[in-house]
Amino acid sequence: MLPLFLSSGLFLGWSLGANDASNVFGTAVASRMVRFRTAAVICSVFVILGAVAGGSGASHTLGQLGAVNALAGAFMVAFSAAVTVYMMTVARYPVSTSQAIVGAIIGWNLFSGSLTDPESLSKIVMTWVACPVLAAFFAVAMYVPIARVIRGTSIHILTQDTMTRWGLILAGAFGSYALGANNIANVMGVFVPVAPFHDITLFGRLTLTPAQQLFFLGGVAIAAGVFTYSRRVMMTVGSGIVRLTPVGAFVVVTAHSLVLFVFSSQELSNALRAVGLPAIPLVPVSSSQAIVGAVIGIGLLKGGGGIRWRTLGGIASSWITTPVCATAICFISLFFLQNVFGQKTYRPVHYELTPAAWERVIDMTAEDPTVRERLEDLYMERFADAAQFRDALRTRLPDAQERIKPIMQLAEMDPIRITAEGVQMIDHNYLTPEEIQAVEELSGQAFTHRWRLAEVLAEQSPAWRKRTESNESEAERMRRLKYLFDVLRGNPNGSR
């Protein structure tokens, strides 16, 4: 079944290539500074490099948005996103693959009765505004000094031409790498836990993990999309909104790549925090939005007269249509997949205030006993899905909405049993011997809640405890915990 399910990821990869390559090389190809074939080759090579070398863990924010927990469901999420991106590509609109995926995940959440985390959603939606604005700002900030330098140094038209070509190619290669690194997890991320691959060592040195092999496949699918279908969208981006000079094209591509870099660079975020500035939210951003923002920035700098507002309106409306469309397609398709083809599209997640969870609720609400009193009738009552449990909490706690999320986390049922076979499957190169030993000591025990296992592990060994306040080490601890849950559930490769 896996190749069939994997096909939707490859289709999404192809759609991404067909659509998003235009962001990286559209302006260069449309201004005829770089030939389409040259652009396609460079883009493909760097997208694959970015996917394989830097493509891990970009889907964390999407993971928080909704946890697709069945293969058939994952297939349909990827497929709905791919169909949406494909439709927009046919209509020649540059759309965001992340938006399509977000829309599809929301569709899955609606179908499975899971909740869409409003915090993660608002964080993602905020970047849909911040990303084009920041790109426009970068483009203007770069354009003015570059134009001044060119005018001041009186460079020959032919020298400037050669320099701009190289600039476009370098910026395009950088942008393609960033695209591969940022978006491959959207394309292939859902399949990582189930891929039947093993480590491959090339030339006795380079080892490719199963995830990297999967990302390579995804990268090849993206490359196929670039070669077969990206030309038309390139023209819309390159000359549809405003006519750009080659130098303008260079500025636009560089500004776009910088925005992708800013929103995905942990180092930059840390550096900002170190000097007392607010950290940058590390979320996958849309390269389409970045490029359109940058193009408009240049257009406005030149007085805004040359901007084709009608094309722009079409592009902007496609940004609203995309997630809505993906949600609808995913919801309807899941219905058919489940009821007509009898596939399991999600694993039901029940909610119950078990004694262990109730104890924590009491601790949590110690300073406000009325909250506990209002929840008493829910004790030991089982809810079929998150939406029902959330509604029950809402009616009881209309004035304490902020308590709902932590209570739901406590009540989420995620039964897991630690078996000797499960412990055997743990990758010794990933978890430390102390960490594995702590898990081994719990062999034979069963846990109803995921948080309970994490707590017991922390009690068991300092290796599983939260050590510092640093977000990075905490994120790494969470990644290791997630890997452990995946392995103990019988997914040999786990997702790191």
């Binding site: 201004s31 005829r32 500074m33 030939r35 040259t38 354009y143 570059i146 134009a147 060119i150 005018r151 009186s154 460079i155 020959h156 038209i157 032919l158 020298t159 400037q160 031409d161 050669t162 070509r165 190289w166 190619i169 000079t245 080659p246 130098v247 303008g248």
Partner: protein, 216 residues
């Protein structure tokens, strides 16, 4: 795209400079040719005629070679058509200089002594406009801020040419010692020399637009 392109680009830059040198040289040869004709130094005039024919031939070759390279290597795609038009218009100026000298050789006009000073002045001013347009083109290729200044000079010399040519023609048609046929022939020479500066001004006007299009 690699070092090959860089080599071609450097070669092309040189060719563009050489082409503009040919146009400028044609202007100088024309000026000398007119003076030699008025001095009735036939041998030296023929030499200049031969030189300007060679220069025009070389200019044509250079222009064709530049055009071919710009197209084959898809260089400066945004400004390519403008640059090609500019080269063709500059080439027309070169042709006009050559054709004018040939007209002297073919028609052997009899130019009265009193007109010599004005005719030399007209030829000089017309060629000043050619020089200014060559400088404008060089400034355009280098995105130099001096472009506007050079373009202004072209207009200035064209206006000066108009003044001299009108003055000459008025004086010519008020003379009683020449036949209408003779006057007509001399008028044609005056008009055609002044026309070279008009053409230079047309090129300057186009160049202003190309520069605006290239403005960053």
């Amino acid at each position: 795209m690699g070092f090959g392109i860089l080599k071609i680009q450097v070669g092309l830059q040189k060719q563009l400079d050489e082409f503009l040198n040919q146009v400028s040289e044609a202007g100088l040869l024309f000026r000398q040719g007119v003076t030699l004709y008025l001095l009735e130094n036939e041998e030296a005039f023929d030499e200049k005629l031969e030189q300007i024919t060679t220069v025009e031939h070389r200019g044509d070759e250079k222009r064709r070679s530049i055009e071919e390279k710009l197209y084959l290597k898809t260089l400066i795609p945004e400004s390519r058509s403008d640059v090609l038009q500019l080269l063709e218009r500059m080439d027309t100026l070169l042709d006009s200089c050559k054709a004018m000298l040939w007209q002297f050789k073919i028609e052997l006009p009899d130019i009265p002594e009193e007109m010599h000073k004005d005719l030399k002045e007209l030829a000089e001013q017309s060629m000043e406009s050619v020089e200014a347009i060559v400088r404008s083109a060089r400034a355009f290729f280098r995105s130099s801020p001096e472009l506007r200044d050079h373009i202004h000079k072209v207009s200035y010399w064209e206006a000066e040419c108009d003044k001299v040519s009108i003055r000459m023609m008025m004086a010519l048609y008020r003379r009683d010692d020449l036949t209408l046929c003779h006057k007509s022939q001399l008028k044609d020479f005056i008009r055609r020399i002044a026309l070279i500066s008009d053409k230079a001004e047309d090129v300057a006007d186009r160049l202003s637009i190309y520069a605006i299009k290239r403005m960053l």
